[in-house]
């Protein structure tokens, strides 16, 4: 009987300890130093990544020739974006077929860099085609042309698909970023 009581006591202690470890799942892992050095290495990798990113952009797309095109969405109430096509001087240069994740990211305010490339100085024309579904579920295609002059600084142009509550339709607006 005495032994049973002892065992029961142990069982209940085990039970209590298991709660703590089960729910809080704690450990006094003394791995901080090693962890810290791994973190530092990760930081160094990211740093190298950043340097490479900058070098690559400088080498491939110097500011004097650079054209970058961005896509953003307003609420997206009147237009469910499926894909985008982009033409520069009537030549197709980029396009995206959106996944749900990408669309959600845009709908939540994200800006997508759709294209980056080199163009000569002078007059150019960009045309963006937005393909998707309207509020009633009908296929719809919206296009916007934008003419601009390329100078010796980077050109950054954002196409914005904006909900127009007045017409209950989406419209495309263009913003040329001023650096």
């Amino acid at each position: 009987m005495k032994m049973y009581k002892q065992l029961l006591k142990i069982a209940l202690v085990v039970s209590s300890l298991s709660f703590a470890s089960g729910f809080f799942n704690l450990a006094m892992a003394n791995n901080s130093e090693l962890n810290q050095s791994i973190q530092d290495l990760k930081q160094q990798v990211l740093e190298l990544n950043r340097k490479l990113f900058i070098l690559e952009e400088d080498l491939l797309f110097p500011a004097s020739n650079q054209l970058a095109v961005f896509i953003s969405l307003d609420v997206g109430q009147f237009f469910k974006l499926d894909s985008v096509e982009l033409k520069l001087n009537d030549q197709p240069i980029a396009g995206t077929l959106y996944t749900d994740r990408q669309r959600t990211a845009l709908e939540q305010g994200g800006i997508q860099k759709l294209f980056i490339g080199n163009i000569k100085e002078g007059e150019h024309s960009l045309t963006a085609f937005f393909i998707g579904l309207d509020k009633q579920g009908n296929n719809i295609k919206k296009a916007k042309q934008f003419s601009f002059e390329k100078f010796d600084e980077a050109s950054m142009i954002e196409f914005k698909l904006v909900d127009d509550t007045g017409s209950q339709q989406a419209k495309v607006e263009v913003e040329e970023w001023v650096l």
């Binding site: 009987m1 049973y4 065992l7 029961l8 069982a11 209940l12 085990v14 039970s15 209590s16 298991s18 709660f19 703590a20 470890s21 089960g22 729910f23 809080f24 799942n25 704690l26 450990a27 006094m28 892992a29 003394n30 791995n31 901080s32 090693l34 962890n35 791994i38 973190q39 290495l41 990760k42 930081q43 160094q44 990798v45 990211l46 190298l48 990544n49 950043r50 340097k51 490479l52 990113f53 900058i54 070098l55 690559e56 400088d58 080498l59 491939l60 994740r101 990211a105 939540q108 305010g109 994200g110 800006i111 997508q112 100078f151 010796d152 600084e153 954002e158 970023w177 001023v178 650096l179």
Partner: protein, 717 residues
């Protein structure tokens, strides 16, 4: 030299026409000027700022004009916002490291997104960088102090949670201690703070935290039920657990009843549903309810209310994080109620569902004891035998030191739960805190490996890019060499000089009056125009010059020989006449010649300009070659750093693997020792049972042998 003054002067001295541009053009002009100046003089930012101010002043002067032209000054785009939103997009589509790179790329431009950056670092499992990022934010922060404090508190709370999830209690404690004045946190932050403090300091929360807990409880009592969040519920439940552990069962029972009453109408609010750093709040809530149910049952059990405990556990959800514990407690409760067959069935079900665990090792001897108390010696004997067999089997299955090779082969793939379930001992090892901590490190290294693999691809790609660019430059240099551009330019320049000189002569002669021209002989005038003559005229001029030489060589000092002198004069007169005729003819053609020269000149100038442009382009390319060399040098440094990181990663990997192996080995040794002890105890219990077996029990066995199924019946439970 005061560059600032010099440039201001240059801008002020610009001709009016150049300033009479629209503001928009002015802006572009300024930008262009800035670029030129930046390149030429490597201007410092304050200098450019002074330029901008100067431009602003100029813009004001011409503001009316700009208004008249109906143009507006383009506002500078809020790049901070644009960069932030791009990073957000990248984060949401899963390109977290690219988002970090983007933000860090712009960080030198005073674009501060450290909260997002801290979040991204947390997603990359880099809490230290997150902390550093937010501390930088604090440093440059110009917003109100309270806002900074709130932001910092958020990050430290996040960091604490991450450290806890990594089972790194030391770091968790360190992060939580960074919040100096928890009383000043918002309600939700306070609740979370207390929750984390309870976990970290359990069971002693410290007097400060207890005061905070009381404050929170008081606030919650005042507050509406719907305003209570998950952290509040957890805190309150922890209070119950605390009372239970202090053996204040009555108080614990009252509190848990209140807790269930409060939770009845609880709804998750929007912010909790969208939390990005934690696991699904709904799942957490369900787990919390399950945990509370077990606590309630355990309190009932401790108070001897076994029937109540049984009822509470009977409806426990099967697919729950705590179902293993619930089943164990259920078996224990049944045992206490004397329902030993059902208890044994529950334990067998436990073993079947969850494999071997300490719950099983502890409950089986208890069950045997119970059977013994009820004088069911055979059943008790059977339980001990089953236990002995299982311990022996477990000892065989337990990896020994020779089988450590298994541990060495533990790759990342084998650390997943699915594989762990295949080997019960591996599964148990995973549940061990030390081993789990080591696994976290293995995971960190494998994440580092992934980052390095991506970096390697980029390095290879950039290497290829540099090679292609170098080939391009070599090709251009070759073609330039073949074209001998400089030679062409100097030839054309010479030609241009000659044409210019001729044009000057032609223009001079054309514009001079007849009288002034009369001061020179026709032959002299023709000689000035010698390069403008057509071939026939040139031949005639050559004849004239020869004739003039002959005339000049005739003696003219023999005054006594008048005949010769007269002859000479006559020759000269005749030569002048024909020269005059030729000059007249040439003079008639001068406007036409002048026009031709001008046309030729403009063509040469155009060609020369083109050549010069081409030369400038080539010079630019030469400077690009210089840049390329710079890129190569930078790239070489990157490669070198990469190699160093790879080496250090290898070293870390070795250390991590070694640590993991040590922990697993220690765990297996510990398990081995525990099992051997359990085996000894069981064997002793069997011996004791057999020695003290009453005769009537043996008789009973002969009369009514009992056959037990190995796992009992699930339905019994």
């Amino acid at each position: 030299m005061d560059l600032r003054r010099g440039i201001r002067f240059q801008i002020d001295k610009l001709p009016d026409e150049s300033l009479q541009v629209t503001s928009s053009q002015g802006f572009r002009l300024l930008t262009k000027l800035k670029q030129i100046l930046r390149v030429k003089y490597a201007l410092t930012p304050w200098l450019l700022l002074s330029l901008s101010l100067n431009h602003a002043a100029t813009s004001n002067v011409f503001a009316d004009e700009a208004l008249a032209n109906n143009t507006t000054m383009p506002n500078k785009t809020a790049m901070a916002d644009k960069v932030y939103r791009q990073a957000q997009y990248l984060q949401q589509v899963g390109e977290v490291s690219n988002a970090v790179v983007l933000l860090e790329k712009f960080s030198h431009k005073q674009l501060k997104h450290d909260q997002l950056l801290a979040e991204l670092y947390l997603q990359l499992n880099m809490p230290w960088q997150a902390q550093s990022s937010i501390q930088q934010y604090q440093f440059v922060q110009t917003d109100s102090r309270s806002k900074t404090q709130a932001l910092l508190a958020d990050v430290f709370l996040d960091l604490t949670q991450v450290a806890l999830s990594q089972k790194d209690l030391t770091s968790a404690k360190f992060y939580l201690e960074q919040i100096n004045q928890p009383q000043q946190l918002s309600n939700s932050q306070q609740a979370l703070y207390l929750n984390l403090a309870q976990v970290i300091y359990w069971p002693n929360m410290g007097s400060d935290n207890e005061q905070l807990a009381e404050l929170i409880v008081a606030n919650n009592v005042k507050a509406d039920k719907e305003n209570i969040n998950l952290a509040d519920l957890t805190n309150q439940l922890n209070q119950v657990v605390y009372q239970y552990q202090q053996q204040n069962y009555q108080q614990a029972a009252t509190k848990i009843t209140v807790w269930f009453a409060r939770v009845k109408d609880f709804k998750l609010d929007g912010s909790e549903q969208n939390s990005s750093l934690q696991t699904s709040p709904r799942k957490t809530f369900e787990n919390l309810i399950a945990y509370a149910t077990i606590i309630r049952s355990q309190i009932s059990f401790a108070q001897g209310q076994f029937k109540q405990a049984k009822q509470q556990l009977a409806s426990f959800a099967r697919d729950n994080a705590f179902s293993q514990h619930a089943l164990y407690l259920y078996a224990l409760t049944l045992m206490q109620m004397g329902e030993l067959a059902a208890s044994e069935a529950a334990l067998n079900l436990h073993k079947q569902e969850f494999g071997i665990s300490h719950y099983y090792w502890f409950n089986m001897p208890l069950l045997a004891q119970k059977w013994q108390q009820q004088q069911e010696y055979v059943r008790a004997f059977n339980v001990y035998q089953q236990l002995e067999a299982e311990i022996n089997q477990a000892l065989k299955q337990l990896p020994n030191s020779q089988q450590q090779m298994l541990v060495a082969d533990f790759s990342q793939a084998s650390l997943t739960n699915s594989v762990a379930k295949q080997d019960i001992w591996q599964g148990l090892a995973m549940q061990n805190n030390q081993v789990a901590g080591a696994i976290q490190l293995v995971n960190q290294v494998s994440q580092l490996d992934e980052l390095l693999a991506a970096l390697k691809l980029k390095i290879e790609w950039f290497d290829y890019l540099l090679e292609v660019q170098q080939k391009r430059f070599t090709r251009i240099a070759d073609s330039v060499q073949q074209a001998e551009l400089q030679q062409q330019i100097s030839q054309l320049t010479d030609k241009l000089t000659v044409f210019n000189q001729q044009l000057v002569v032609v223009d001079n002669i054309g514009t001079n009056t007849a009288d002034s021209n009369l001061q020179q002989t026709p032959l002299e005038l023709l000689n000035q125009l010698n390069k403008t003559l057509d071939p026939q005229q040139a031949k005639w001029l050559a004849d004239f010059n020869l004739s003039q030489q002959i005339i000049d060589s005739l003696p003219n000092e023999k005054t006594d020989e008048n005949k010769d002198a007269k002859k000479k004069a006559r020759y000269q007169q005749r030569l002048d006449k024909v020269a005059a005729v030729l000059y007249w003819q040439v003079n008639q053609q001068l406007p036409e010649r002048s026009w031709q020269y001008k046309k030729a000149l403009s063509q040469i100038e155009k060609t020369l300009a083109e050549l010069n442009q081409q030369q400038q382009r080539l010079q630019r390319l030469t400077s690009e070659q210089f840049k390329l060399n710079q890129y190569k040098s930078d790239f070489a440094q990157i490669q070198q750093s990469y190699q160093q990181i790879v080496q250090l990663t290898k070293l870390s990997k070795q250390q991590v693997t070694q640590q993991y192996q040590t922990e697993v080995k220690a765990f297996y040794q510990q398990q081995h020792s525990m099992l051997e002890k359990a085996l000894l105890t069981t064997q002793q219990a069997i011996a004791h049972l057999l020695e003290n077996l009453p005769e009537r029990a043996e008789l009973k066995e002969q009369a009514d042998p009992i056959e037990l199924g190995p796992a009992g019946s699930v339905n019994d439970v």
